[in-house]
Amino acid sequence: MEPVLAIFVGLLFTTAIYLMTSRHTIRILMGVAVLGNGVNLLIFTSGRLTRDVPPIIPAGLDAPLIPIANPLPQALILTAIVISFSFFAFLLVLGFRAYQELATDDSRDMRLAEPADDPLPPLGY
């Protein structure tokens, strides 16, 4: 099962990197979202996969009887999902504001902070 998921993670990364090489903020944004999901799946896979055995210890015992799914990657992914979702929300609003204020979503035209026709430093005194 792991190799299949590993290939799938690779596909997600490829898509994300392709999207992020775009000049348009909206595509970069989608790239970031896909990358976030790819990473979550990566953590899940590196925790090794077991099928159909939830990590629950039966009542009355203090250790599981059979090998169970690794609960730690699930906890890590839960944290990562929350974080990447909130960042995605922030970036979505930021990208939209940038589109409204700067009237472009092309990162090459976003030159307000670093104007192309910046005056040269004074040469003499």
Binding site: S46, L72, I83
Partner: protein
């Protein structure tokens, strides 16, 4: 394994049974302190005056906490606290050594200075939108990153400080800020995602996230090949966070756009967290892999230094020039990591502390200059020396310090690094360090000549002798006093940075602190 739960359970197999000494609570104290203070300040948002005063007092309290933590660590060696009293590596550990503690102390000093400056610089609207709360949240992230002993937890603190810094970056919502914030936010998010990728692979290899546990295992692992991938990914991710060449371009694109005090905070704190994380992972967790990548790091260091110095030379804008100086300082710290001898590392740590203080002070100085001269451009500024001699004198001290001239704090780490690189027969690195110092002197000398020394341009009118209130100069005065103090009396700081460097290169005390019984685990 399994047994009835009614039977006596041996809790000592899973939990730390001894109660924690009161002093050890210092390990965790600064982080919840910041989070609670940030929440309380949010409630005070309607009373802008009181909020600023409370924030300054709160940050002084943070400084006291961090200072006590440093004193505790210097006396007793690395201290560990594991959450929920689970035995490490199962609980999340916070482990503080001298390196983390001394960076936390300097970060809190920088934050106090910035809060005092912000009391004048940030208007009521900015405060209502939560400037001081964001400041405390960012401090929670920064200090959390310095004290944590768990690599996934480090990622979480990175995200905490990142989201707080986004809030600070867009505070005010000017078009320029939105432009800078877009580049800052996207590129930093990609960097932290790469950090998460590396951490996912690391978990797959080791099955643990506790840094002491990993440090013990990397030194005995049978198949070290995957570790090279891990080290390369961490180098890329943290290099990007620290603004190392060739992934440094987000910094000069964004650091001059927010409010001056926000630039000052970012320059003092954020890139140094990247350097700290790079040192922690490459030196403590993957020492052999760092040796393999030493040449790559050295080249990145040299190019970062040169990019920063030449970039600074080409600028007209005071604040954009400072952005490039931050980058060139990162190159000098990377040089220490590339050499990785005790002396070189000690110099890099010393330089990081110096850079936190001096870069913050320089941004504050640029803000005061713009307040007097109504501009950041060297074409419009002038006559600052005539307006306020004390301010001009302090700026000159900072210019000398950032260039690495004696007797200020930038001199010692650069001298040590040059000696260390000559000892390691890396004469290229030594040449570039000296050349960068020379170019930086020219760049800041030009700022001095144009903005301070030459008369104000006639189009701007002659600025009246600016009588600044002492409170506006107070944060600058304090930071300048620190850089002079570190420069004239470097011994104490050198001892601290030496022991921090030794602790990175030989983490046995760090590991011992997390796993006291076994010495080395597994």
């Amino acid at each position: 394994m399994a047994g009835p739960s009614e039977a006596a359970i041996d809790y000592s197999r899973a939990f730390v049974m001894e109660p924690l000494a009161l002093a050890d609570w210092l390990v965790i104290a600064p982080v919840p302190y910041c989070l609670i203070a940030g929440a309380l300040l949010m409630m005070l948002r309607k009373n802008a005056e009181l909020q600023a005063k409370a924030a300054i007092i709160g940050l002084i309290g943070l400084f006291v906490l961090c200072g006590a933590l440093l004193a505790h660590v210097v006396e007793n060696g690395p201290v560990t606290m594991t959450m929920g009293r689970w035995l490490p590596p199962f609980g999340i550990s916070f482990t503080v050594d001298v390196l983390g503690a001394i960076l936390a102390v300097t970060a809190s000093i920088v934050a106090v200075a910035c809060a005092i400056y912000a009391a004048e610089d940030v208007d009521t609207t900015g405060r209502r939108y939560g400037f001081f709360s964001f400041l405390f949240l960012m401090m929670a992230g920064v200090i959390g990153a310095f004290v944590t002993g768990d690599i996934f937890n480090l990622y979480v603190w990175f995200e905490v400080l990142l989201i707080a810094s986004f809030g600070l970056q867009v505070l005010g919502s000017e078009d320029r800020q939105i432009d800078g914030a877009t580049k800052y936010a996207f590129l930093n998010l990609i960097a932290t995602t790469m950090f998460l990728v590396a951490t996912g692979y690391l978990y797959g290899v080791f099955g643990t996230l506790n840094m002491a546990d990993i440090a013990a295992q990397t030194r005995t692992i049978d198949d070290a090949r995957p570790l090279y991938t891990l080290a390369a990914l961490y180098l890329f991710a943290f290099g990007m966070k620290a603004a190392a060449f060739p992934v440094s371009f987000w910094l000069p694109a964004s650091y001059h756009t927010p409010k001056v005090v926000v630039s000052a905070l970012f320059a003092g704190l954020l890139t140094k967290v990247g350097i700290y994380a790079l040192a922690r992972t490459l030196l403590m967790l993957f020492p052999d892999q760092r040796d393999a990548f030493a040449d790559v790091i050295a080249w990145a260091a040299m190019l970062t230094m040169l990019l920063g110095a030449f970039g600074a030379l080409a600028q007209t804008d005071y604040r954009r020039l400072l952005g490039y100086l931050v980058v060139s300082g990162i190159g000098i710290m990377l040089a220490g990591i590339a050499l990785a001898t005790v002396e070189a590392l000690s110099a890099a740590i010393f330089y990081a502390l110096h850079s936190m203080v001096v870069m913050t002070a320089l941004y504050v100085a640029s803000g005061i200059a713009a307040r007097i001269g109504k501009s950041f451009s060297m074409n419009d500024l002038g006559g600052l020396y005539r307006s306020n001699v004390l301010f001009a004198a302090m700026s000159l001290v900072l210019f000398f310090s950032v260039s690495g001239l004696p007797p200020f704090s930038g001199f010692w780490p650069k001298a040590m690094l040059v000696r260390a690189s000559l000892d390691a027969s890396a004469s290229g690195l030594a040449t570039i360090i000296l050349l960068t110092g020379f170019l930086t002197t020219i760049a800041v000398g030009r700022v001095w000549a144009h903005a301070y020394w030459k008369p104000a341009p006639e189009t701007m009118g002659t600025p009246a002798a600016a009588q600044m209130k002492m409170t506006s100069l107070l944060p600058l005065l304090a930071l300048v006093a620190l850089t002079v103090g570190f420069g004239v009396f470097p011994e104490t700081l050198l001892q601290l940075s030496d022991s921090a460097a030794a602790g990175l290169l030989d983490p046995s005390a760090y590991i011992q602190s997390v796993f006291p019984a076994e010495g080395a685990v597994n």
